[in-house]
């Protein structure tokens, strides 16, 4: 398929700007653009067809089953899109005076209240733009908290099952990293933990349930170990969809929690964003929250910028407001029934697990929470079929592959998260596909090795992409395609 730049013809155009009859302005010569940018020159009909063709070559939740582990690919309710585009939200300038933004501020205040109740922690900032920025914010909060107490702590502990964002955030926040192992049941290894927590430890970053889809059965002891050492606990909310209304991070002992509004609370993933990563904290950490926060005085709401102990601002304005509208609408649609959302997410996952564990390896044989991790190592050992081949073959069944090769503690990992919005028929369809693929691995492995079939492209030469990077269209100098070997 051609690039929009390749469809460009000199002299074509779509948008026009009104002619107000103003004199043509003169900009200083040295600041004026010398060569016009080579943006595409295309009339509107072909722009629409181009977007449509690109959409046709993209698979979303709307297309089919998308059990991508740890990403919570649930249905995105359309009413949220409708209310997200109300002019009173869409066309509201963020510098509008508080008095002219009362509806927006009330929505944010109410969202904070609901998030606080769900986390079991009293104070919330909505500012962070995504989960990973929530993590970084949480670590900055720890830094500010200890600095205020005159304590020098420089180490953060993460689990060996942690998302890659955890260690990356630790580095960005200027901390050093210590890793703790997972025990045979999939819990944090308490002996390893006790040996590593000391007066230099600032805190723990933990996903619970973990990326193995298992709730840490020793979480109360874990919290005790850290709190006894004067350290803090950070909850990575990537897997919160398992426990809303069932178990609260604050009650588990966590001091700082981030939410992924684009996972748990249905903000559409948008092909990779936008998201939202609010953070909730215990009252001892509240003074350090990013400014501004939404404050309430009687019936009036305002943005409070006067926060002398704040870590500062982590992004522009008060956060990704359009995401708040969607997540707020989602939470209001469920009300206290949010608990049922998590119950069904866990039921769906356990059902898939029960129906697949006899054909794929199950590294930790327990009931799972909202997701679970299987291993294709039995197929690899017996038939030379890797997790990647299983993933690619699933595409032939019109199913998006699960997360693969993660968490790192499981070889040939297939991390499967169905979410609560899938009907039983879709789950059964996945079971049939996965079982058939296991059979195909034995009977016709080439079918898997050559998968996918019938997609717009076959498997890609990813080494070439990295070794000879072509990261933009280069017009006349664009390299000609050389056939892969």
């Amino acid at each position: 398929m051609e690039l929009i730049f390749e469809k460009s013809r000199s002299g074509r155009r779509s948008g026009r700007v009104p002619d107000y009859g103003l004199p043509k302005p003169e900009l200083p010569q040295d600041l004026r653009r010398a060569l016009p940018p080579r943006l595409p020159e295309v009339a509107e009909p072909e722009i629409v067809r181009h977007i449509t063709a690109l959409a046709d070559r993209t698979f979303g939740i709307d297309t089919g089953f998308y059990p991508l582990g740890s990403c919570t690919m649930k249905h995105n309710p359309r009413v949220n899109e409708r209310v997200g585009r109300l002019p009173g939200f869409r066309d509201l300038h963020p510098h509008q005076e508080d008095e002219g933004a009362q509806g927006a501020l009330e929505l944010m205040w109410s969202l904070q209240e609901m998030l606080a109740e769900i986390a079991g922690l009293p104070a919330v900032t909505l500012q962070p733009a995504a989960g990973s920025q929530g993590e970084l914010t949480g670590l900055m909060l720890m830094r500010a908290y200890f600095a205020d107490r005159g304590e020098e702590r420089d180490t953060i502990i993460t689990a060996d099952t942690a998302h890659g964002t955890n260690p990356a955030s630790v580095t960005m926040a200027g901390y050093s990293l210590e890793r703790v192992e997972t025990d045979a049941r999939g819990n944090l290894d308490l002996d390893d933990l006790r040996a590593k927590v000391n007066e230099r430890t600032a805190g723990l970053m933990l996903t619970n349930p973990s990326t193995l889809g298992l709730f840490d059965e020793g979480i109360e002891e874990v919290a005790r170990i850290f709190h006894d050492a004067g350290a803090l606990l950070y909850y990575d909310g990537a897997n919160l969809n398992a426990v809303v209304g069932i178990s609260r991070p604050g009650d588990m002992g966590f001091d700082i929690v981030h939410y992924n509004l684009h996972k748990t609370f249905s903000q559409p993933h948008g092909g990779g964003g936008p998201g939202g990563g609010p953070v909730a904290v215990r009252d001892t950490i509240e003074p350090y929250l990013p400014a501004p926060v939404v404050a309430r005085d009687g019936d009036a709401y305002r943005l409070d910028h006067d926060r002398p102990r704040s870590i500062g601002r982590v992004r522009g304005f008060a956060g990704p407001f359009g995401v708040f509208v969607r997540s707020y609408a989602y939470m209001r649609a469920y009300g206290p029934g949010l608990k049922e959302m998590s119950e069904v997410a866990v039921l769906n996952a356990n059902y898939l697990l029960a129906r697949l564990k006899d054909v794929y390896d199950l590294p930790y044989d327990r009931h799972c929470m909202h997701e679970f991790v299987l291993s294709a190592r039995n197929l690899k050992r017996e038939h030379g079929i890797a997790a990647l081949d299983v993933a690619k073959r699933l595409m032939d069944y019109d199913i998006h592959p699960p997360t693969i090769y993660f968490p790192l503690v499981v070889s040939e990992a297939l991390m499967i998260e169905p979410t609560e919005t899938e009907p039983k028929e879709r789950l059964d369809g996945f079971v049939v596909a996965m079982r058939r693929i296991a059979k195909e691995a034995a009977e016709s492995p080439a079918l898997l090795k050559e998968a996918p079939h019938g997609r717009p492209v076959r498997r890609l030469d990813e080494v070439r992409a990295a070794k000879q990077p072509v990261l933009r269209y280069l017009f006349d100098e664009h390299p000609a395609l050389v056939e892969a070997e």
Partner: protein
């Protein structure tokens, strides 16, 4: 509740397959001490009709640009978002896909990001662009991280004319990066290149904004040269909508070009979500933060697109990654691509010329003293006879939001009003602003 599909019969069958008698049994792995023993204390569930009514009621309590003639800018601008953007936003495939980890199922979104990267490179004159950052603030912090690691220096210089929120975010991140942030004062609305040269001596980078926060045009080529001569990476924070008429940062020697993409393709939306763009010269590519899409071929030799250079990223490199970013702002970046395509080079130039023309018209028509005698793009800072906050309050009473009170960020300028003019404002709008300001000043 209509988002769940399981029937009672489904549940029974599924529980039987699992081998448990109730859903509660599945939660027995949660220690009793941390189970939540009551119902969530959140407002009752609303059916869709009531939900829309409730959200509409909240929305109607906001004074938006459709009900008040607004000249607010200061980082977020009311440019026209073309209707074709709705084609993109309404396609469920784009809306509901995740990050394109599986390229065979994601060629559409991957190609669109590749096209977006190309458009950003063309506009900024840079070699490479990532797939987007969170906003115009966080991309500045990202740029500091790149600059530190490529220069080995531990200081960044930021212009006082750089958007205050961008400076705040850079300072918030700087502690963790081990970076010192030094601000350089403006002289009459812009930065002096000689002062910048001495401040840059041991700096990793210099960040300036063009056009700057006051709407003034910086002597950008001189600033970039001053920074580069001192061995600091020059970084321009630019507005995409200006780059049809203003020179590309790559053409005057910048190492990186970053900015807030909102003006191209996104409504104000009370501050977000929008997208930040991050472009750089080739030499920085392996230190760049965020997703990058590259072109390659498939087994049949067909052109194909894929996330590439992933060894920079957190899911591969973990604590050694160039950034922790995962979710970015893809959908909004693609709205930017569609908007820029709809405008094309000619439309973008017309937008720029209209902005400059309207701003010149406003200067003349308002007859207020200018805070700075400098050329401008789409914003002008004027001095008022009384505090800007009071003038804004009174003008709003007459249905016009006249602009931003600069004293919010620069306390010594509480009589300065920053007025933004996009191509959506008309000379008649400016006439009305002049009449209202005449009345309340």
């Amino acid at each position: 509740m209509s988002y769940l599909s399981l029937t009672d019969a489904d549940r029974e069958e599924m529980l039987a397959a699992i081998g448990v008698s109730s859903v509660e049994e599945l939660f027995e792995q949660i220690p009793p001490g941390v189970r939540f023993g009551r119902e969530l204390d959140v407002p009752r569930a609303l059916p869709e009709i009531e939900l829309v009514a409730h959200l509409s009621e909240l929305a109607n309590r906001n004074v938006h640009t459709g009900v008040e003639l607004s000249f607010l800018g200061a980082g977020i601008y009311d440019h026209y978002v073309p209707a074709v953007v709705d084609v993109l936003l309404s396609r469920g495939e784009f809306l509901t896909a995740y990050t394109p980890y599986q390229p065979e199922m994601s060629q559409g979104v991957l190609q669109a990001i590749f096209e977006y990267q190309t458009a950003i490179c063309e506009l900024t004159g840079m070699d490479v662009s990532n797939a987007s950052g969170y906003d115009g603030c966080t991309v500045a912090a990202d740029a500091c991280f790149v600059a530190k690691h490529t220069s080995g220096r531990a200081k960044v210089v930021v212009a006082e004319t750089l958007n205050p929120q961008v400076r705040h975010v850079v300072k918030t991140y700087a502690g963790g990066f081990g970076l010192e942030v030094v601000e350089i004062a403006h002289r009459g609305g812009t930065i002096d290149p000689d002062e910048l040269a001495s401040a840059s001596a041991d700096a990793a980078a210099v960040i300036f904004q063009q056009p700057n926060f006051f709407g003034c045009l910086e002597p950008a080529p001189d600033l970039a040269a001053a920074a580069a001569d001192a061995g600091a990476h020059p970084i321009a924070h630019v507005d995409l909508m200006s780059l049809g008429v203003l020179e590309a940062p790559g053409a005057y020697g910048c190492a990186m070009a970053i900015g807030e993409g909102q003006s191209a393709g996104c409504p104000p939306l009370y501050g977000g979500p929008h997208y930040g763009f991050f472009a750089a010269r080739q030499e920085f590519v392996r230190r760049m933060p965020g997703r990058i899409v590259g072109e390659t071929v498939d087994l049949d030799g067909q052109r194909a697109f894929v996330l590439t250079l992933q060894t920079r990223e957190q899911h591969i490199r973990r604590e050694k990654a160039t950034s922790n970013i995962t979710t970015n702002q893809t959908l909004l970046a693609l709205a930017g691509l569609v908007t820029l395509t709809w405008l094309g080079p000619q439309g973008l130039r017309e937008v720029g010329e209209t902005c400059v023309g309207l701003t010149e018209y406003a200067k003349e028509r308002l007859g207020l003293p200018l805070a700075f005698e400098r050329p401008t793009f789409k914003e002008v800072a004027v001095r008022l006879p009384r505090p800007a906050r009071d003038v804004i309050r009174d003008a709003r009473g007459l249905g016009v939001h006249p602009g931003y009170a600069v004293g919010r960020d620069y306390p010594e300028m509480d009589d300065v009003l920053l007025i933004a003019l996009t191509e959506k404002r008309t000379p008649a709008d400016v006439d009305r602003l002049a009449a209202v300001l005449g009345e309340v000043c």
